[in-house]
């Protein structure tokens, strides 16, 4: 098993990536639908092929995590080369990356702590506008204003969290909805930030004078224009995902999960619940702000219509579709819900309609999302034999449980 396992994992990743690229690049609608169907079948078949004893591939992926992640990284780095012929699709992947960044942040709130933030777009707007204004108006380098945008969003997140954290359940969601709308309305009505027409001429990220928006060449490789942004978003995602995973697997993640289940019980165990919620707000909106700022500098133009209530809803759907509280799932949800609607632009007008239908259908079919929640295990407490299962000494790892 041990020699073939990495092979299986790599093969699985290559196949999925290949199908995804094919899906993106085909021009004909029928072919796209075909690739999608094949892709789903392949994914199901592949998960059987790599399945461990409990019928899921997660155990295998966990023990050979080095291979899985390494393989994935190499493949992801190669994507711009594969999509050389289509800068548009590379841009869509960049957009997917932005959504993924936002989703990771939102997941801290919605997934881990069950704080359903339906105004997340408002926070990303704060990150975007802050960074845009600082770099455009004050000449700050986008590399710096990016982080300031994130911090601004975090600060506002905590500020909104202060009153909101004391509310229960739906009231919290409503406060966030109202907040999101207030941000939108304020942006539209403030000429200083461009009003309804938004802000343009936002400086791009650049390394040594070369803008990341332009076509780069590394050695003899000529990369398409979006490649720089693509690699940058991958880097930011790596940072975000590492942080999110570390938080999840440690005390904060545990406390947030407890909060989600039973606030009073958590309080009775000595946890300052309000503080816990504020941290969830601040950390989550920090990533949202970074994502918004990144978007601003990558596209060069932002407007209030980029940050509406519908966007907040879309983000929440990504978290739910992918699997709340599962970072990998959330990434998957973001990618899927960005790519598929873009692909079916042939149905240009029906895109939003389709989206609504998909949302309702998903909620009915699989409300727990695509990827399940994981059970935390600890190196210091090895799994015991439970009946027929053989013990697997897993190192500070997570194993999926349905």
């Amino acid at each position: 098993m041990s020699l073939t396992a990495p092979f299986r994992i790599l093969a699985l990743e290559v196949v999925i990536l290949g199908l995804t690229v094919a899906f993106l690049l085909t021009e004909r609608l029928m072919l796209s639908a075909l690739w999608l169907g094949v892709g789903i079948l392949a994914a199901v078949g592949a998960s059987r092929w790599t399945a461990g004893e409990d019928g899921t591939p997660w155990a295998l992926l966990a023990t050979h995590r080095g291979w899985a992640v390494g393989g994935l990284v190499v493949l992801l780095l190669a994507v711009p080369l594969l999509l050389r012929s289509s800068p548009y699709w590379l841009f869509v992947l960049v957009l997917a990356g932005v959504h993924a960044l936002m989703a990771v942040g939102l997941n801290v709130q919605v997934g881990s702590a069950d704080m359903v933030n339906l105004g997340f777009a408002g926070f990303t707007a704060i990150g975007a506008y802050t960074s845009a204004i600082l770099s455009r108006g004050l000449g700050l380098s986008p590399w710096l204003s990016l982080w300031i945008g994130g911090l601004a969003a975090a600060a506002v997140g905590v500020a909104v969290g202060l009153p909101a954290a004391r509310t229960r359940g739906y009231s919290f969601s409503l406060v966030t909805i109202a907040f999101g709308i207030i941000v939108y309305l304020s942006l539209i009505n403030l000429p200083a930030v461009g009003g309804p027409s938004g802000l343009g001429s936002i400086p791009p990220f650049s390394i040594g004078g070369t803008s990341l928006r332009s076509a780069l060449s590394v050695a003899d490789l000529h990369l398409p224009p979006q490649a720089g942004s693509y690699y940058l978003v991958l880097g930011l995602l790596a940072l975000a995902v590492t942080s999110a995973l570390r938080l999840h697997r440690s005390v904060p993640g545990l406390v947030w999960n407890a909060l989600r289940e039973d606030e009073i019980a958590t309080k009775v165990l000595g946890v300052d619940v309000v503080r816990a919620k504020l941290w969830a707000m601040g950390l989550g909106t920090f990533f949202g702000g970074i994502a918004g700022a990144f978007y601003a500098h990558t596209v060069g133009f932002i407007a209030p219509d980029n940050f509406t209530f519908l966007h907040s809803v879309m983000l929440v759907s990504m978290v739910i579709l992918g699997g709340a509280d599962n970072v990998a799932g959330v990434l998957l949800g973001a990618v899927v819900l960005t790519i598929i609607p873009e692909k079916f632009r042939a149905f240009q007008d029906y895109r939003l309609l389709l989206y609504g239908v998909v949302l309702v259908v998903m909620l009915h079919l699989r409300p727990q999302g695509l990827l399940p929640r994981v059970v935390r295990t600890y190196a210091s407490v090895p799994r015991r034999p439970e009946g027929a299962r053989r013990p697997e000494p897993v190192a500070a790892d997570t194993v999926a449980v349905r």
Binding site: V251, D262, K267, V268, L269, G270, A276, W279, L283, S380
Partner: protein
């Protein structure tokens, strides 16, 4: 802080004076005083609706009393929120167990341990290795606690708490309360729903607890008189929110008022 106590008496673990709380027109707890020393087990009994759980909620910090004082080891903690009271050494189980059902058995106990510590929110990001080690250490100790008190649960420590039976859930909840190393333990009807054998096991476990941790003070709400008779050093009887009797089990059982309260006249 030592008002009214003679200098020779040590500070009691818990000293609740004249606690009163009203909900709308109903006075749920009316001027109840309760004193508990470390190592004592006091049973609180009374007909349904007499305010026992509400009293616990006040002691715990979930409710704020409208009148009265709570002194914990001499410190006035009246009106403090539940998390601060927990951090001062109070553990609690609930009438209907409030476990984290989607989390594993181990995680439930782990939260008991971790909750009363100062939480370092950025530690996993800024010093991940150290945070992971600390967590692993907490986990090991949580596991050790499980092994000590509920070895059958320890064997299934990674199963979700949802899978446990009623009795196992109670046991887990007590373990979770113990994980924070409390000085005062509030147990709310731990034997509810148990049959005779399970109740005897529960009584054994509580006796074992008192032997291994003689400094812990326990307040126990119970309906099962065999448990009360078998475990309690002292019994407090509540009726309609007021304390109507206090003493040993036999003294209280002989009281006319108590019999009237339970049987009605």
């Amino acid at each position: 802080m030592l008002d009214g106590l003679s200098p020779l008496q040590p500070t009691p673990l818990l000293s609740a004076e004249d606690l009163t709380i009203r909900f709308g027109g109903l006075t749920a707890v009316d001027g109840v005083s309760l004193r508990l020393e470390g190592g004592e087990l006091v049973a609180i009994i009374g007909p349904n609706g007499s305010g026992k759980t509400t009293l616990f909620n006040i002691l715990n910090g979930i409710y704020r009393p409208h009148a009265g004082r709570i002194l914990l080891k001499g410190e006035d903690v009246t009106g403090l929120p539940a998390d601060q009271i927990a951090r001062r050494g109070v553990g609690r189980t609930f009438q209907i167990s409030r476990l984290f059902l989607d989390l594993s058995v181990l995680d439930n106990v782990l939260l008991g341990r971790v909750g009363t510590n100062r939480l370092a929110w950025l530690a996993p990001l800024l010093r991940p290795k150290q945070a992971a080690e600390e967590l692993a250490d907490h986990a090991a100790r949580a596991y050790a606690l499980l092994e000590e008190w509920a070895p059958d649960l320890a064997a299934r420590c990674y199963r979700p708490a949802r899978e446990l039976t009623l009795v196992e859930r109670r046991r887990l909840e007590i373990c979770r309360a113990l994980a924070s190393d409390p000085d005062l333990l509030l147990l709310d009807e731990p034997s509810a729903g148990m049959d005779a054998r399970e109740t005897r096991e529960l009584m054994e476990e509580i006796r074992r607890l008192r032997v291994r941790r003689p400094e812990i003070g326990i307040a126990l709400i119970e309906h099962d008189m065999s448990v009360v008779r078998g475990l309690a050093d002292r019994v407090v009887v509540l009726n309609y929110g007021r304390k109507i009797a206090e003493g040993t089990f036999d003294e209280v059982a002989a009281s006319r008022e108590v019999r009237e309260a339970y049987l009605g006249t």
